[in-house]
């Protein structure tokens, strides 16, 4: 394989594909990127078998062929080359990369050992990029990062009232985002997509108008511009989350979104660990936030807010509260509560499609 390509375009393709390459690859060959040149098109693919990312670049190709080169090493080399054209030649033994007066020769990995990756489903639907990216970013923070709870490491995508719903939970909080009028799933269809894959998709959507989604029985393919992301779907039943969302809350606080975020950011400075909760004292006088730590001291801030209900003090994990409020759009957020031990609901009057159910933290 032999080709010539602009450094920045090659570096971008390697960086994108390299995100699927695990630092602790299960097979040695998976620490590499698979390069395939065919008729002037270079496909760069990285995979950890669960997630596969391919990026395509148009190159000035001489000889078609394939090769596998260590992903990090090749990306590092291409990034440090002089701007301009990069020449690359790959055979069974080594890959030679040169630009300007620099030349590198690195060992290749046997391309035949690179696993056959699943072919994407043929049926695809087009999805509006901005809307999908915004929804994914709203629910992702609630998805679990706990390797021991694989089901919760995914985002449930399902049909709901002639639209689509995205749901994520780590059991401490639950994010729900409705996409009314969107029909990229078949009626009654439910798929559980790994958080990591959706995070990579959202990252690519900034300058895009749309993406193509292809759902297979065991995998989902997202095509964004010249990049294709194929992920295995998570098998198993997502928790029955509907029963976890309280149908009504007697207490309702309405507060400026940014004002609340700023206040939480300030008071949590004295909470030197993530286990220290922020307390919200809600009354007709407004909102009082406080953090108390035995070792360091305390912080208190008064915030103007509208409150309907009986006076209540409830404590939350400040990181979880911040994540839920940040994901809400609009100038104001509402925090609806039942008592200081039952799930609270964070939402925005301006965008009711998003809801964030948050469990309080017990405090002395």
């Amino acid at each position: 394989m032999k080709f010539q390509c602009e450094r920045d375009r090659l570096a971008e393709a390697l960086t994108i594909a390299g995100r699927a390459v695990s630092a602790r690859a299960s097979l040695p060959v998976l620490s590499g990127v698979h390069l395939e040149l065919r008729h002037g098109t270079l496909r760069v693919t990285g995979s950890d078998l669960d997630l596969t990312i391919s990026s395509v670049v148009d190159v000035d190709g001489d000889d078609d062929g394939i090769g596998v080169v260590n992903a990090k090493l090749l990306t590092d080399i291409v990034r440090v080359l002089d701007e301009g054209a990069v020449r690359m030649e790959v055979d069974d033994e080594e890959a030679r990369i040169s630009a300007g007066r620099s030349e590198f020769a690195v060992r290749t990995v046997a391309a035949a050992e690179f696993p056959n990756l699943p072919e994407p489903a043929t049926e695809g639907v087009e999805v509006e990029a901005a809307m999908f990216a915004a929804a994914v970013r709203q629910v992702l923070p609630a998805a679990s990062q706990d390797v021991d709870r694989p089901i919760l490491r995914g985002v449930q995508m399902e049909t709901e009232d002639a639209g689509v719903r995205l749901v994520a939970t780590d059991s401490y909080r639950l994010s729900v985002r409705d996409l009314p009028g969107t029909t990229f799933l078949a009626e009654g269809q439910q798929v559980l997509v790994p958080r990591i894959a959706l995070s990579e998709v959202a990252r690519l959507l900034d300058d895009q108008q749309s993406l193509t989604l292809r759902l297979g029985e065991r995998d989902a393919t997202f095509e964004v511009g010249s990049t294709q992301i194929v992920t295995r779907l998570i098998e198993g039943a997502f928790p029955n989350y509907r029963s976890l969302i309280p149908s009504s809350h007697p207490n309702k606080l309405t507060v400026g979104r940014d004002v609340l975020l700023d206040a939480v950011r300030r008071v949590k400075v004295v909470a030197r660990d993530t286990a220290t909760p922020v307390r919200l004292k809600m009354s007709a006088d407004g909102l009082e936030l406080s953090v108390t730590t035995q070792d360091y001291g305390n912080a208190l801030e008064q915030v103007d807010a509208k409150y309907e209900g009986s006076e209540l003090t409830v404590a939350f994990n400040p990181e979880y509260l911040t994540a839920g409020v940040e994901a809400a759009t609009g100038d104001e957020v509402t925090i609806e509560t039942i008592d200081n031990l039952k799930p609270s609901l964070v939402s925005s009057p301006e965008s009711p499609e998003y809801r964030y159910v948050l469990m309080p933290v017990r405090f002395p």
Partner: protein, 219 residues
């Protein structure tokens, strides 16, 4: 236990030869016959040692320790600086750390927390390679060996596998199944347990103690 601080040199002759040049060292002669030579550093590992059984012939300026394989440890003593002998009595053994011992106690009192119908036969059930934490019977009367750790790692699984192998030899117990229990079990330990046919279970220490967790969960 005899402790001798002496200026000495030591020569080992066995599978290989080793020489410790002349210096002040601590020589420990344990009641079971083990001999160990320590320098003034390092937590536990002697510079040289000879495990029991062996014979010790102690002359004034030379001790010779010999084991049944014919290996010898020759300690040439130039000056004895201290020589004390003390009876240590019976060794009560190593106590497990507080949480682990308490977990065992709590689960012994309530084995059904681990599995419905599980009942305790005995704590610290002896095998010829050491005691297994709990021996229980399940609802069908089958023996279940339970090993309890604070952190569940692969060596704990291997330990339980060894106990199971010994317990299986007892016709009054077999078939014996294993249950590996810890507050947290590492993914590799889970895989190993499953590969060995051993069930595993994570337990919440606070819950067992009846303490409600601070962080509440939706489910």
């Amino acid at each position: 236990m005899r402790l001798v601080i002496a200026r000495c040199s030591v020569d080992y002759d066995g599978r290989l030869t080793a020489h410790l040049p002349l210096a002040v060292r601590l020589i420990m002669v344990k009641a079971d016959g083990c001999v160990a030579i320590h320098a003034d550093g390092g937590a536990y590992k002697p510079l040289n040692w000879m495990n029991a059984p062996n014979t010790l012939v102690a002359d004034e300026d030379q001790w010779v320790v010999r084991n049944p394989k014919g290996e010898t440890l020759t300690i040439s003593i130039e000056e004895v600086l201290a020589d004390v002998d003390h009876e240590l009595g019976e060794d009560p053994g190593l106590r497990k750390d507080g949480v682990e011992a308490h977990l065992q106690e709590l689960l012994a009192a309530n084995p059904a927390h681990l599995r419905e119908g599980l009942r305790l036969v005995r704590r610290e059930y002896p095998t010829d390679i050491g005691p297994v934490d709990l021996l229980c019977r399940d609802a069908e009367g089958r023996a279940v060996a339970v090993e309890i750790k604070r952190r569940g790692e692969m060596d704990g699984v291997e330990q339980l596998a060894r106990y199971l192998e010994r317990l299986e030899r007892d016709p009054s117990l077999r078939p014996v199944t294993g249950l590996f229990v810890a507050q947290q079990i590492k993914p590799q330990a889970r895989v190993l347990a499953e590969a060995r046919g051993i069930a595993w279970r994570e337990v919440d220490y606070d819950e067992l103690r009846g303490i409600a967790p601070t962080e509440l969960r939706l489910f």
